[in-house]
């Protein structure tokens, strides 16, 4: 606080001796790097998708095979968001409120899907749920496999979003509700859940965006059958391979648009719910 007062009294820019020149330079380097690596390539995708006019763009994204792939992607992503919201919250609750031997190991394993290469994730799921399944559950090359792989790669998002909030939630509120005679279900629904909702929604938004674009974990386990188990990113890959970059770019733009839209929508929901939690 005292230091803040000091900045007010001292003349501007004396505080940190970074001349205006170096500020502009560092800002320029950051913008340049971001442009070369991310923006220019993405602009090329947008440009290429519209290269042959809007008619071609529309045709590319309304091709039956493309529609089937996008529908499968969106529906599976919605399914895994719902499952993640429930299971992620449950896992976070168990990891924060429960005590059992091995809890710390389980806790650190949650991050494994972030550390494990996606192709390895697909291979591991195939080893347990593939054709030669040791437990006799074969899901390979079905739509269930799409959901399974997406659940694997998106597991940490909701758990890691909810955990810190749950740690900070004031237990006294729950105790007060209990002493007033509320049932556990009631306490969960009316006291705990409203506090957790913004974190759950934030985790779900990230999981949804990740699921829309997922590729590596799906390649081996889904079989990539058009009109059946082919997701959007696999469809785009196929279009690139068959030398149709304009149509690949068009579907890419649509996919990009969907994930940005989802992030924005969920952003709004999270603002709304945090306002209503108070």
């Amino acid at each position: 606080m005292a230091a803040n007062d000091a900045t007010v009294t001292s003349p501007p820019r004396v505080g940190i001796r970074s001349p205006v020149g170096s500020e502009v330079l560092s800002r320029g380097v950051v913008t340049l790097w971001l442009s070369v690596i991310v923006l220019i390539p993405l602009a090329a995708v947008v440009e290429h998708s519209l290269q042959d006019g809007l008619g071609e763009f529309w045709e590319a994204i309304t091709e039956p095979e493309a529609i089937a792939a996008i529908r499968l992607t969106v529906i599976s992503s919605l399914i895994i968001v719902a499952i993640n919201a429930a299971m992620g919250t449950l896992i976070a609750w168990v990891l924060v409120r429960d005590e059992f031997p091995g809890k710390r190991i389980v806790n650190s394993l949650i991050d494994l899907p972030f550390a494990l290469p996606t192709i390895v994730a697909g291979l591991t799921l195939l080893a347990l749920y593939g054709e030669n399944s040791p437990i006799g559950v074969s899901m390979a090359y079905t739509k269930a496999a799409v959901v399974l792989a997406l659940l694997f790669v998106t597991l940490p998002f909701v758990v890691r979003a909810v955990q810190p909030v749950l740690l900070e939630v004031d237990r006294e509120m729950e105790e007060a509700a209990a002493s007033l005679g509320a049932s556990r279900r009631r306490i969960f629904r009316s006291v705990l859940l409203p506090n957790l909702t913004p974190a759950i929604v934030a985790g779900c938004a990230l999981a949804f965006a990740r699921a829309l674009g997922e590729y590596g974990s799906l390649v081996l386990i889904t079989g990539n059958v058009p009109f059946d188990t082919q997701v959007a990113s696999v469809y785009i890959f196929g279009r690139i391979e068959s030398d149709a970059p304009a149509s690949a770019a068009a579907v890419s733009v649509l996919l990009l648009f969907l994930s940005v839209l989802a992030l924005m929508a969920l952003n709004l929901i999270s603002k709304w719910s945090s306002r209503h939690a108070r």
Partner: protein, 283 residues
């Protein structure tokens, strides 16, 4: 009941047996879900790899192709991660300490690689650096090959691992504030000295955490690299691509062996994540 609770405020209602059953049920559901989805599949890969002894997996990864794939993976990581670390720390400093027009846009754009499909990332590089791309033709004439060769794969790796260091460094930088930096510069330290002696030491665990995450992502990137590499065996094949190819060629032992190498690296990453997080908390 109520009196009981007042005596033990830390665990409301803990002694009641219906509650214990409920709690046990939740625990079993959570751990069971994790086991089915995560723990058992990963364990099975280890069992499958070594079920015929150590010979086959070792042969598979010490083959010339396997060794080359491992080497190429390391090259991509060794270029991409340091570059992203420098960019990440610089970008975090710019976004936290400076005010300028368009800051919110830059802040949003940095997250884009998280929201984009790896395949689309690969396509975007193809459309710039490919033979029919924006500058690919000119580069080709100048004798520089980007797509279907190592530079393109490095670019893809940089793209996918770009946000990690920025995102992990920014909150730490915000938290430490700039009072110490101001003190240092009033005492006559140059901007460079202040950065090395004050700023960097105070954010080092945040940066470390970001570097670990970026390394994990860079090592395992599949989709983007797959598009730009052309997957030429022994030339433009990284370890994740090698896994897919061995699997497609029905060489399960080879696929599992390479996957195990990647999985072991992932476990090492996990361990260092935990360590650096603990250091960060205690720092």
């Amino acid at each position: 009941m109520r009196g009981d609770r007042r005596k033990r405020p830390a665990r409301p209602g803990a002694p009641d047996s219906a509650h214990r059953v409920q709690r046990y049920g939740l625990r079993v559901a959570a751990v069971g879900y994790l086991a089915a989805l995560l723990i058992v599949p990963v364990a099975i890969i280890f069992v499958r790899t070594f079920e015929d002894g150590l010979g086959p997996p070792i042969d598979a990864i010490t083959s010339p192709e396997g060794r080359h794939a491992f080497w190429l993976t390391l090259v991509c990581v060794a270029v991409a991660v340091p570059l992203n670390t420098i960019f990440g720390v610089l970008a975090a400093l710019v976004l936290v300490r400076q005010k300028f027009r368009g800051k919110a846009i830059v802040n949003t754009l940095i997250d884009l690689p998280f929201a984009i499909s790896p395949v689309v990332i690969g396509l975007s590089l193809l459309l710039v650096y490919g033979i029919d791309g924006w500058i690919g033709g000119d580069l080709q004439e100048a004798g520089i090959k980007v797509i279907f060769s190592t530079p393109g794969m490095i670019l893809a790796t940089i793209f996918v691992s770009l946000p990690f260091v920025v995102r992990e460094t920014m909150p730490v930088l915000q938290e430490v504030g700039n009072e110490q930096e101001q003190a240092a510069s009033t005492l006559g330290a140059s901007g460079w000295q202040t950065f090395w002696r004050i700023t960097l030491p105070s954010i080092r665990w945040g940066v470390t955490y970001g570097v670990i995450l970026a390394t994990a992502r860079a090592l395992g990137e599949f989709g983007a690299v797959s598009v730009v590499s052309g997957r030429i065996s022994g030339e433009t094949e990284t370890l994740p691509l090698f896994v897919e190819k061995q699997f497609a060629n029905f060489d399960l032992a080879g696929a599992y062996a390479a996957a195990i190498v990647l999985a072991l690296i992932a476990l090492a990453v996990l361990l260092s994540m935990n360590l650096s997080r603990r250091k960060e908390r205690s720092a």
